[in-house]
């Protein structure tokens, strides 16, 4: 049965619904990253400036462009938070409203809805992330190299990985009545481990393997290397290979987990209970 049309229907549904909450969406995708991530970090970073230069960051990461470092991280965080929270909120609201039952009545694989919601969230968060990059340059003096466009494949791999993660989040939403705590914790941990706030080389040694297992770590590293000229963790081709492997693994594990959760709940009779 062709998959594309129902997936696009779900994307359209989510985008139309998001458009009905313009203030809420603006706050979530644009303002929140500013006052929760970018501004506090910029201000903390500025406390360490020596004659207006981020000498510490230059020593650590190979760039003294503090705004550039943070806004590139904000792009990846936007994708990560947008996708995970988007899927969580859509599924939870569907269950609360009573529409989940009817969605699951359709003659489709149920992970169609996860894919559709993830894609819709990625559309919104990509736009928001790019806008943040532009604002970083215009308002805060970030300077990106023209080679930043070469990082597009890395961002696409991030999106693939996030689709896999979305399936895991969806499984959690189905299994738990209230998955907000899980989503909060997971997105926070992934953002930190991916190097959104600081170079992963700052992490304690025992945590670094976790960071190096994430496809988002390599994707962000490649983005910063291309945009700011930072020293990469791995040579770029190897970084792509690692990101690709991680993304595929996340998709496979995510889909398998979602299907197991779905079957378990069908058997327990709580698939659509709210």
């Amino acid at each position: 049965m062709p998959l594309l049309r129902p997936v696009l229907a779900v994307v359209r549904r989510d985008l139309r619904t998001a458009a009905r909450y313009p203030l809420g969406m603006t706050n979530f995708v644009l303002l929140s990253p500013f006052y929760q991530l970018i501004l506090p970090s910029l201000l903390l970073g500025s406390a360490f400036l020596v004659q207006g230069r981020s000498v510490g960051l230059a020593a650590m990461a190979g760039t003294s462009d503090l705004p550039g470092f943070l806004f590139t991280g904000a792009l990846v965080q936007s994708l990560l938070l947008g996708t995970c929270w988007g899927v969580n909120l859509t599924l939870s609201m569907d269950r609360e409203l009573g529409t989940l039952e009817h969605n699951f009545l359709a003659p489709l694989r149920r992970d169609t809805f996860v894919l559709g919601s993830a894609l819709a969230s990625l559309v919104i968060s990509t736009l928001a992330g790019v806008l943040l990059l532009v604002l970083g340059e215009v308002l805060f003096g970030a300077r990106y190299l023209s080679a930043v466009v070469l990082a597009m494949p890395a961002l696409l791999l991030t999106m693939v990985a996030l689709v896999g993660l979305a399936h895991l989040i969806a499984a959690a939403v189905l299994l738990l009545r209230q998955a907000d705590m899980i989503v909060d914790g997971v997105t926070f941990a992934l953002a930190v481990l991916s190097g959104v706030l600081f170079p992963v080389t700052v992490l304690p040694v025992w945590v670094r393997p976790l960071a190096l297992a994430l496809p988002t770590t390599y994707a962000l590293d490649v983005l910063r290397h291309q945009a700011l000229g930072t020293a990469p963790l791995l040579p770029v081709p190897l970084a792509y290979a690692a990101a690709s492997g991680g993304a595929v693994a996340l998709v496979v594990v995510g889909r398998w987990t979602f299907r197991r959760a779905e079957r378990r709940l069908e058997a327990a009779g709580t698939l659509v209970q709210h």
Binding site: L23, S32, Y35, S46, A47, V50, V55, L66, L197
Partner: protein
């Protein structure tokens, strides 16, 4: 209604709120997990910005008044989390009653309105104190911060003076959201403002002049500053006394304002569409 009856109503509200609060595991996570993990992330970030360069660390110490970066960040985030507890606890309690449909039955009772307004505060005060105790232990045992009895007493005095301030803020917002009927949007905005303007993650000295003036007008800025001065800056009680007195006075003023505002909201509801309209 007499004062003893009012106290009884207050106690009943507090007990009801506590029964609700203690049922949620998320609350425990909030007071134990986030006060430890969130600042730790910013400590790592600070290490990234310092990069091991003595010049960078020296620049921080000059601006912050202390070279104790970890303690600086932990105290800032502790106040931020306290504020979050207040906003989503007492700040949202009346709105929650309204959404559940029970606000009307509360206002039908002869209970004094201050009992309804502040009754939810004690349960969240317990959470807040548990959180602050966690942070205190982390500073002492985890970060090895030398905190003597005198410093601890100074910090306790700041915390005590801040209680009416923060819960008065929560009560005032609680009355306001009944009117505005949008709690989440307002709270997210306020939390964002506090994060950016009150020096949670940075010394206020790095802000431009106009922003420093704005920060000075916000009570949480002084709570954070006083706690840092008491525990990290070696300030004596005599030096903190004015700040402590100001915090207590502003706090009592906010509490009074909250009671007055709730009275206005109640009159507006009685003349308009009632309590349950949202």
């Amino acid at each position: 209604m007499s004062t003893p009856d009012g106290l009884r109503a207050f106690g009943a509200t507090a007990r009801k709120e506590w029964r609700t609060v203690r049922r949620y595991l998320a609350n425990l996570a909030f007071v134990v997990f986030w006060p430890l993990v969130l600042p730790a992330v910013y400590v790592l970030e600070a290490r990234g910005f310092a990069g091991g360069e003595a010049r960078a660390l020296g620049a921080f110490a000059a601006r912050a008044g202390t070279a104790e970066v970890a303690g600086f960040l932990y105290l800032g985030w502790a106040v931020f989390i306290w504020l979050t507890i207040v906003l989503w606890g007492p700040g949202a309690s009346l709105r929650d009653e309204q959404l559940r449909g029970s606000l009307e039955s509360l206002f039908l009772t002869p209970s004094p309105r201050w009992a309804i307004l502040f009754g939810s505060a004690p349960a969240h005060l317990v959470l807040a104190m548990a959180m602050l105790a966690t942070v205190g232990l982390t500073l002492r045992l985890g970060l090895g911060l030398a905190v003597g009895p005198a410093a601890a007493l100074r910090a306790l005095a700041v915390v005590a003076a801040s209680v009416p301030l923060l819960f008065g803020t929560g009560a005032l917002l609680g009355a306001l959201v009944l009117w505005l009927r949008d709690a989440s949007g307002l709270f997210m905005l306020l939390r964002g403002l506090f994060t950016v303007l009150c020096g949670v993650t940075y010394p206020v000295a790095v802000l431009p002049g106009w922003a420093q003036a704005t920060a000075a007008a916000l009570p949480p800025t002084h709570v954070i500053g006083a706690l840092r001065a008491a525990l990290l800056g070696g300030a004596r009680l005599a030096q903190l006394w004015e700040t402590i007195a100001l915090l207590a006075a502003v706090g009592l003023g906010l509490c009074a304002a909250a009671v007055l505002l709730l009275g206005r909201v109640e009159r507006h509801a009685r003349h308009g569409r009632g309590f349950e309209w949202y």
